[in-house]
């Protein structure tokens, strides 16, 4: 077992982890406090002037001091849209992982503990789900959804839709991880001890087994947030994700893409850099956590 304190100590002794942690913390703070920090509110049409469109970053010759990283085609400051967009990307990423985790942990726990045909059924279901690519499912569902409803309705529900679709499509990763830890735990004697007193299966599963399977869940959660953010960015880039007036990092990259060849690279470049930094930080943290929490790599600590 590893305590929070020793986890923190290990964190402080690993420069890569500290670096990734700081980057992530800065990005999260930036996103959360975007309304306070951002030089302008890109959603407030009163603050946007089409005359400001496609201004280069402020250090360029014809840059404008108001827009540090320049503006996009609609005259919104790229810095401000990045601040708001990072929040939307993070919201979708975390939301989708919450959905994945709830579905995956529940089904994995049931499959692992009950075994037999329930296990076989759920795991075959997971296999089928895994064999369909997440992007493919998302593209089909979102395309139908976009066609079925008009743009306003779509814009209102886009976040929820993305969370649900990415969440549902990726549950098998959690389910498989949890199931394999449950299989390891359920034959341990403390589970037998709980059964001896006649504790119902529900209580044994949630009260005894689940807390002992959460370590790997923590690890994949981090990596899955990064993956969900990437999926959302890819969908938005294809025009199936967040609408342009409530842009995520992916839709920002897309909205600038058509200007890249006419020289307005900043509209795409800066959101892309932020996306890379965010995903990289999450993945590095996830890898670090896996190394620390993996009992096979960590001997004599149990």
């Amino acid at each position: 077992m590893i305590t929070w304190r020793s986890l923190f100590k290990r964190f402080l002794s690993d420069p890569v982890a500290i670096g990734a942690g700081i980057v992530l913390l800065l990005l999260v703070l930036m996103a959360v406090f975007a309304p306070l920090l951002a030089p302008q509110n890109p959603y407030d049409l009163m603050q946007i002037d089409i005359m400001d469109s496609e201004l280069p970053p402020s250090w360029k010759d014809d840059g404008d001091a108001r827009f540090l990283l320049g503006t996009d085609a609609q005259g919104r400051g790229v810095l401000s849209t990045i601040m708001y967009g990072t929040g939307i990307s993070l919201l979708i990423g975390i939301g989708a992982v919450v959905v994945q985790a709830i579905l995956g942990v529940t089904l994995g726990l049931i499959a692992g503990y009950k075994g037999g045909w329930i296990d076989a059924f759920l795991m075959r279901l997971a296999d089928i789900q895994m064999s369909l690519s997440t992007l493919m499912i998302a593209i089909i569902v979102l395309a139908i959804f976009q066609a079925a409803f008009d743009a306003n309705v779509y814009a209102d529900y886009a976040i929820v839709m993305l969370i649900v679709i990415i969440g549902v499509a990726e549950w098998p990763k959690f389910a498989r991880t949890v199931r394999s830890s449950v299989l390891g735990e359920k034959n341990k004697e403390y589970v037998d001890a709980a059964r001896v007193i006649g504790l119902p299966a529900r209580k044994v599963m949630w009260g005894h087994i689940l807390p002992n399977t959460l370590t790997p869940v923590l690890v994949i959660s981090t990596i899955q947030v990064a993956e969900a953010i990437m999926t959302e960015a890819a969908l938005s880039f294809l025009g199936l994700g967040m609408p342009v007036d409530r842009p995520s990092l992916g839709s920002l990259i897309r909205s600038g893409f058509e200007f890249v060849f006419s020289g307005q690279y900043w509209i795409t470049l800066y959101p892309a850099l932020v996306l890379i930094a965010l995903v990289l930080a999450l993945n590095l943290l996830g890898d670090w956590m896996r190394d620390v929490l993996n009992p096979k790599l960590r001997r004599g600590d149990d």
């Binding site: 077992m1 403390y190 001896v196 007193i197 119902p200 807390p211």
Partner: protein, 334 residues
Amino acid sequence: MSAQIKPVPSPQTDHIVETRGLEVRFPLPTHFLSREKPVLHALNTVDVAIRPGETFCVVGESGCGKTTLGRTIIGLQNPTAGEVYFNGQRIDQMDEATRKPIRRDMQMVFQNPYASLNPRRNVYDTLVEPIRHLMPEKSAAEQRETVEAVLAATGCDLSWQRRLPHEFSGGQRQRIAIARALVTNPAFIVADEPISALDVSIQAQILNLLTDLQAERGLTYLFITHDLSVVQHFGTRVAVMYLGQVMELAETATLFATPKHPYTRLLLDAIPKLEGGSFDKPRTPGELPDPVNLPKGCPFAPRCPLATDLCRAERPKLRVLPSTGTEVACHHTE
């Protein structure tokens, strides 16, 4: 004899636990299309009756079914056939609501104190769970009182309550596990190899604790072990098991003085002795037959020096030897 049907005798209530014709078979995993369905016979018609207040030992080597017997009696394993009685009441197949009050009276201590305590629960939460579940009438104050009394009785320090299992040594953990088994004030405890995972100097401490608790609380033990020297010291009666069957059942003193079954003699002969000398003669390799494809006759016949064609053809049943009162399943012993 007339054609009259012999009435089934009701189980004697002077036994706290009794099994009748207990059988446990595990189907082994195969491909779902395969024709053969191999089955592992973990228990084969086991009849044991445990008297109140005694220490009933079950000895045997790995795969003999001793652990399965304990798990079936306590209800962790459903019997394939046969019955389990507790104080004259049949408890296998009982529904959970009826069984709940009986669960207070039956508890279990496990072999590995490193696995039998939930690593994420502190000592108090581990100990209070059986009370909360089985004695919901107790108030929070009474729960606390019971936990503290039991901790004191098992030689645990009261300051341990808020600590997690990984902070304790093996011997301390086993004390905590014994305390958990005692919080509902049971009459009967299944102890499955409770000392074999502990260091030599700790084993005596735990055995003494079990002896003391038995004297104080009038406990009945089903003590499962592979170690005959512990049985000799600790047991009232002992059943020797081999491949899912009881081969010999006797008072401990009788069994050690006059072992009747050839397998019992083999086991006794295998104990290393401080006086030395018992490993001087070479031994032929004996291997357990595959419990999946049990031989038709006596399961011990392939290793037995006395085996005859009769042994290989017919499985001997337990019978009482009038001379010592030993029950033995062997064609060739008197």
